[in-house]
Symmetry: C2
Subunit: 365 residues, 2 copies
């Protein structure tokens, strides 16, 4: 194998392919990126057996061939190479020379034939969405995925297509996040529970460009994301997602509308006092034209009135400030409305149609 790639192109391809490398593995071959030069296309791929990533690198194939290179050292070399064209050449013994000008690296490659076969998508339902929208959808829902949950479905997010709408739903034991976005055309209903780790890797790999598209292919056991020159296939999580209709459709009695940033800053200040480990809640209590936020812990106390317009009755409710803070960070609106039913019922923050966040209250003594 012999290829020539400009440094920037090499680096971005190796960076993308590195995302598929498992953090721990007993199979040394999985620590490698497979570089393949074939029919004038240079591809780099990796897998942790759950996710498989393949990316096409822009460059020139001088001689076809394949080699598996240790991802860590390959990435370090790609980073530290001088700017300009880089030649990668691999002989029969898999010894690989990486050369640019006077800089010459030699590393031991491996036989790529023992590398697991490239996963293939088993789906046909293709949905198209802009990279920007998908990146935002993931960013604003990923925080309430419980990566360590015993219930498998909680370690992922439900991605659901219904007509011209794509929804992402995630939840842990205390919070629910729902985001909806409009698609450019209408599709047959299809859905999948996608592992949180997959979404995290995709979010990092997506450019976030509004003018670029990502194709999602929903399969029986896999989901495929194709964007730019990269394809990522992931297994999906078996089974049914949680039925949250009953929780989400509760009829709130009271609304409190506040400036989002003022409220978020105030909750952040209150969060200072939960560091003592007693898990004291922050207490939200409605006043005339305000909502009072207060907290008392062994470290000290804090209270503050945040201006609010209100409808319905009065409420006094205990909340975990960290949970509120996470939700507020993921809302970009200037003004938000909090919906309450009662002190033992969840607090919901939502707009008309594009998002709904729910957090359970903390019992007050």
């Amino acid at each position: 194998m012999k290829i020539k790639i400009e440094k920037g192109n090499l680096l971005s391809a190796v960076q993308v392919a590195s995302r598929g490398i498992p953090s721990h593995t007993t199979q040394p071959i999985l620590e490698c990126i497979v570089v393949e030069a074939k029919e004038n296309v240079i591809s780099m791929r990796s897998t942790d057996m759950e996710i498989a990533i393949c990316t096409i690198a822009d460059g020139e194939v001088i001689e076809d061939g394949t080699v598996a290179l240790d991802a860590k050292i390959f990435l370090e070399i790609a980073k530290k190479m001088p700017d300009g064209d880089i030649t990668i050449e691999c002989g029969e013994d898999y010894q690989t020379k990486i050369v640019s000008g006077k800089t010459k690296f030699k590393i031991a490659g491996r036989d790529a034939s023992v590398f697991p076969k490239t996963a293939e998508s088993d789906g046909a339902d293709e949905v198209i969405i802009s990279e920007f929208s998908l990146k935002e959808l993931i960013r604003t829902t990923l925080f309430s995925v419980d990566f360590n949950a015993a219930q498998k479905a909680m370690t992922g997010e439900l991605l659901k297509v219904n007509g011209d709408r794509l929804s992402a739903i995630s939840l842990d034991g205390h919070r629910i996040s729902i985001r909806n976005i409009d698609l450019r055309k209408s599709y047959d209903p299809v859905s999948a529970i996608v592992p949180g780790k997959t979404l995290m890797e995709i979010q990092k790999a997506l450019s976030g460009d509004a003018d670029k598209d990502c194709t999602i292919i929903f399969g029986e056991k896999t989901i495929l994301f194709s964007f730019g020159s990269t394809t990522l296939i992931s297994r999906i999580i078996d089974g049914e997602f949680f039925d949250i209709k009953a929780i989400v459709n509760i009829q709130p009695q009271m609304t409190v509308t506040v400036n989002k940033q003022d409220f978020a800053d105030c909750i952040d200040r209150a969060a200072l006092f939960v560091k003592d480990g007693t898990k004291k809640p922050v207490i939200l209590e409605t006043k005339d034209n305000a909502i009072e936020v207060r907290i008392e812990s062994t470290l000290g106390s804090m209270n503050e009135d945040v201006d609010a317009t209100r409808t319905g009755g009065d409420i006094k409710i205990g909340m975990n400030p960290a949970f509120l803070s996470d939700i507020l960070k993921n809302i970009d609106e200037e003004t938000i409305t909090l919906y309450f039913v009662g002190e033992k019922q969840p607090c919901i923050i939502r707009d008309r149609d594009s998002f709904l966040y729910l957090a359970l209250p903390v019992a007050l003594k």
Copy 2:
């Protein structure tokens, strides 16, 4: 005590005073910043019993008094307060209210009378230097302080005034760093071994402004640095510093002059291959108009010729790339000259007068 301070002024004072807080202590009072309002001056001070910091905060004294406040929570509150004027008020029970607009914090303060007495300088020899020069002097020599050395003198730097010159010298078992700067006037000879930790804190606290001065007072057991509204007193390390004249004054046989950045980049690339734990050296070997840098380890090999102009004979020498890399990071010159005596003698990098760095070689098999 009652004082009023604008948020930015409060935050910078608390940040500076926080630098004196010990990372571990069995004396809870040392985890506090003492806030004192007296004769219209607001001061904040802290100590870890080695270093004592006192800074003056710009603000208004409404009522004299003193309180000790937990540094961590005080700093967090100062960070998260809304912009504008902040009132800090402490009653007889040391309960302290920190208020700005509608934001009200209450924390438990402590009696400051149990706080160790403010250290006083025992020196009279005053030296004046710009904050910029002092910050640079520390930055470019601190890396070769061995914070964990058994020999106390190695855990600090020698600061030495001789006429109109201030020198900083630090060394660990493998490297020596010397930096000299010219002072605006001439002083009697004076010197002190200053703990590395002290210099680290000063470097962070200095603004680095070339138009602002720092006064250094050398004492018998202490050294005092006064800059802006901050005073830092530190104990100094007892005893004599190492006599390095003999090592530094060796007569180099060979010189190799290279572009600093090219050489540093090349050493960085070679450093990739020392991660395997075998501590393989990088080999520098002179060629016609170049110096070859090469390394071989279990991970792979790398070699590169760096253009060089040379005098004297040829050299082949093993060096620790991390040590070279540290030195090169601290030199701003475009071109540098390496001086060699022989493969078992140190490599010296110096200019005419302002810096000298020395690194010991690694024996080649």
